[in-house]
């Protein structure tokens, strides 16, 4: 029995990565849920929006690095983030004016907007590929670890080293700041309140003199910020691959629906539910169980419930369970 080592191994491979991943998913799901709440459609281009935002951050980071600007131990990408948000906001607002606005005017069915968003997805995908190609890019610089496995072993005297990557801490901190700012905006400012009013009851909001186009513009600005931050954080934590964001679409949607689509608080909860289930179910628990079991005993297999390639199956299974038993999600979202 060696509970401390088991705990450290668990934290190292499950707790910390899942928290960082959960924060990234939560930010992505917040974007999806805001679009759903205000514009009333599921945006299939959201993965590509994240990819686009991350791409701008990657390019600006490279520019800063070539100028010799850096943040010391922090990644330069943090400095590039505002530029990424600005460019993504410009793209989203242009897309809205050129593409989506028409369908709002003719009051098209939500499913039409979903199809339109797949067209937007193609275009954004093409843009990203044409600008940066398809290869992997690492753009994290600065200190790699906040807590190093070797230092931790020396400090604690345990066999199992704890490693916390700088990017993981930054992910959580940035996500916390972003979410706090978003909730402050939605709950305390006049504009935020008008947005929530519009999301709750469009007709009533229109009657009380809220300008719908302004609400839509602000929504896209918020979505640009959320998507860029989510995309950049994910890219910092792993590496920037234009393809990968397409695959994030399913867990992001699942997170939004599990939490109750249209409900921001639910999106955050959903992000963590999905991330923790995914990481826990696909982690090989052999090490942890070896520590917990009697001395010199270890399980034969990897004690992995599902192969990591089935992580989509986890999001999907949770999605299906929620759809079957609680279609409005854990927190009450809009059911229609």
């Amino acid at each position: 029995m060696d509970i401390l080592n088991a705990l450290v191994a668990f934290a190292n491979f499950v707790l910390i990565p899942a928290t960082a991943y959960g924060a990234q998913l939560a930010l992505g799901a917040l974007g999806v849920t805001l679009i759903y709440g205000v514009l009333r459609f599921s945006n299939f281009a959201h993965g590509e929006t994240m990819s686009f935002g991350a791409m701008v951050v990657v390019l600006v980071t490279a520019l800063f690095q070539s100028w010799g600007i850096s943040l010391g131990p922090l990644p330069t990408a943090l400095l590039a983030l505002p530029f990424g948000i600005a460019v993504t906001a410009l793209l989203l607002l242009t897309t809205d004016r050129v593409v989506y606005k028409f369908y709002r005017k003719v009051k098209a069915a939500p499913v039409m907007l979903v199809i339109v968003s797949t067209g937007v997805m193609f275009v954004m995908n093409g843009i990203v590929r044409m600008v940066v190609g398809t290869e992997d890019r690492r753009f994290a610089d600065g200190a790699r670890f906040l807590v190093n496995a070797r230092d931790f072993k020396a400090w604690s005297g345990l066999d199992e080293g704890l490693a916390i990557k700088t990017t993981q801490v930054i992910t959580v901190v940035v996500a916390l700041i972003t979410v706090a700012a978003l909730f402050w905006f939605l709950n305390k400012t006049r504009t935020g309140k008008s947005m929530r009013a519009f999301s709750d009851n469009e007709d009533l909001a229109l009657l009380s003199g809220i300008n719908p186009e302004r609400v839509v513009t602000i929504t896209w600005l918020l979505v640009a910020a959320l998507a860029t931050i989510a995309g950049a954080l994910y890219g910092l934590d792993k590496s920037f691959k234009p393809f990968i964001y397409q695959q994030l679409l399913l867990p992001v949607f699942a997170a939004a629906i599990v939490g109750g689509i249209g409900n921001p608080l639910g999106a955050i909860a959903g992000g963590f539910v999905i991330a923790f289930s995914e990481v826990t179910l696909t982690y090989a628990f052999k090490k942890v169980i070896t520590y917990l079991g009697p001395d010199s005993w270890s399980p034969d297999g990897l004690v992995q419930l599902l192969s990591t390639d089935y992580k989509f199956a986890v999001s999907f299974a949770i999605l299906i369970i929620v759809l079957l038993f609680k279609p409005t999600g854990l927190f009450k979202g809009q059911s229609i």
């Binding site: 459609f41 599921s42 299939f44 593409v99 028409f102 939500p110 499913v111 039409m112 979903v114 199809i115 339109v116 797949t118 067209g119 937007v120 997805m121 193609f122 275009v123 954004m124 995908n125 093409g126 843009i127 590929r129 044409m130 190609g133 398809t134 397409q246 695959q247 679409l249 399913l250 949607f253 699942a254 629906i257 297999g301 419930l305 192969s307 390639d309 089935y310 989509f312 199956a313 999001s315 999907f316 999605l319 299906i320 759809l323 079957l324 279609p327 059911s335 229609i336």
Partner: protein
């Protein structure tokens, strides 16, 4: 009276133009590429027919086309490859037992859910039952999988198929896809339309994950090569006297000739399938059933008030559409002669098919066929056309310039942008497509 006639008269012109486009490829590039485009165009047309059935007839948004296409491909392996007796004796029985137990567990869970009284006990018992069932399933499955995958992994390492004629795999592909579609639709239909879309997105990813990882079933990323073919082999043709005689009569090189001959045979097979499906769909559309479907699509509330079972009919049409897509997937894998799970990409196999349906004209079967052929043609030809344009523009530039090299590299990705723009433009300015619904 004149209006429908005018619309009707547009279809032959478009198909003629399509034929001219493909002939242009034949004349300018090679007849081999032209026939390749034709064959994949015909298969794409069948996929588009399946999506059109779901979207055009019932307004159901399926984002899992890729999954059903891949299932069709799996069907080819499972039906036509010869079985691997060593693998079967190593763990075949145990795999079958594990799968039976797996199904029994899920069925048992469903029975428990129905029979037990509502409350916390039910949730706990059900969870315990499922967890225990999962471990039992893995206990049965894992050793069998290891045993099978150890059997000569370089060439087999899987159970193989049934060794039946490959054409039989096409309907089997349809049945597999229909089964998967039934499972998805059963859970997601009746909820909001976006939920069905997201659920299909999920099932497609899972089908692909299974095909990539379950080596005992599909050899995973090691691919299955050398699938049986419904048409003769090029090499055999080149050695056959009657074929050589025919080639000398046409004055053709037997090597090129044999590959063109084989592609023509495929084209005939695919054409036969398309004619069959379109005829069936047109007949169905004109029948009372088709009128009911359109009534439901146009006004669900009214149709429900008339006593129509909307969710039931949606389920039916979703499953039928998926079956057609599955058939197309099986045909595609047959044409390729190999199953490579890593080549299935959602943009290519799901969203491109959507572009085909929307551009062709949703609700119109001939439109779906035309859209399938046209968009496939563009998907293949945008790249060379773009490269040609770039070459013309940059012809004045220095050959070594980084700008020119960059432009030429970028042009490879232009087709994604082009497809998106085509979809958006058609949706905005001509939402009924090239051949509108009659």
């Amino acid at each position: 009276m004149t209006k429908p006639d005018m619309k009707k008269s547009r279809a032959p012109q478009y198909f003629l133009a399509m034929a001219l486009l493909i002939s242009a490829v034949g004349l300018l590039q090679s007849w081999n590429s032209a026939l390749s485009i034709l064959n994949m165009g015909l298969i794409s047309a069948i996929m588009a027919l399946g999506v059109n059935l779901q979207w055009g007839y019932a307004g159901l948004f399926n984002v899992g086309v890729m999954g059903f296409v891949a299932l069709g491909g799996l069907a080819v392996v499972l039906t036509s490859m010869p079985p691997v007796p060593a693998a079967w004796s190593a763990g075949g029985g145990r795999i079958v037992a594990a799968l039976v137990v797996g199904v029994a567990i899920i069925a048992g869970a469903a029975v428990l859910w129905k029979k037990m009284p509502k409350g916390r006990t039910r949730g706990l018992v059900l969870t315990a039952f499922l967890v225990a069932g999962f471990f039992l399933f893995r206990f049965l499955l894992d050793p069998a999988v290891a045993a099978i995958e150890a059997v000569d992994p370089a060439v087999s390492g899987y159970l193989g198929g049934l060794g039946l004629p490959v054409m039989l795999a096409w309907p089997v592909g349809g049945i597999l896809a229909a089964g998967a579609a039934w499972l998805v639709a059963k859970t997601a239909l009746g909820l909001r339309s976006d939920y069905l879309a997201i659920a299909t997105l999920g099932i497609a990813e899972i089908i692909l994950a299974v095909m990539k990882n379950e080596d005992w079933l599909s050899r995973g990323v090691k691919n299955v090569n050398g699938l049986p073919r419904p048409v003769p082999n090029e090499i055999d043709l080149q050695n056959a006297q009657w074929f050589l005689d025919m080639m000398t009569r046409f004055g053709m090189d037997p090597t090129t000739g044999s590959s063109i001959f084989v592609k023509l045979l495929y084209a005939l097979l695919f054409l036969a399938v398309i004619i069959l499906i379109v005829t069936a769909m047109e007949l169905a559309l004109k029948s009372p059933w088709g009128r009911m479907m359109r009534a439901i699509r146009d006004n669900e509330v009214a149709a429900e008030a008339m006593g129509k079972n909307v969710t039931g009919r949606h389920l039916q049409i979703f499953v039928l559409g998926a079956a057609i897509i599955g058939v197309a997937g099986a045909m595609m894998t047959t044409l390729d002669g190999q199953l490579t799970p890593t080549t299935y990409q959602p943009l290519r196999y799901t969203f491109l098919v959507w572009v085909m349906v929307i551009v062709g004209g949703s609700g119109n079967n001939w439109g779906a066929v035309l859209g399938g052929m046209l968009i496939w043609f563009l998907w293949i030809e945008v790249e060379p056309i773009g490269a040609w344009i770039v070459n013309v523009i940059t012809s004045g530039m220095d050959d070594g310039s980084a700008f020119k090299a960059g432009l030429i590299e970028r042009v490879a990705y232009m087709r994604y942008l082009t497809m998106g723009v085509i979809l958006l433009v058609v949706l905005r300015f001509s939402p009924r497509g090239l051949l509108p619904e009659k």
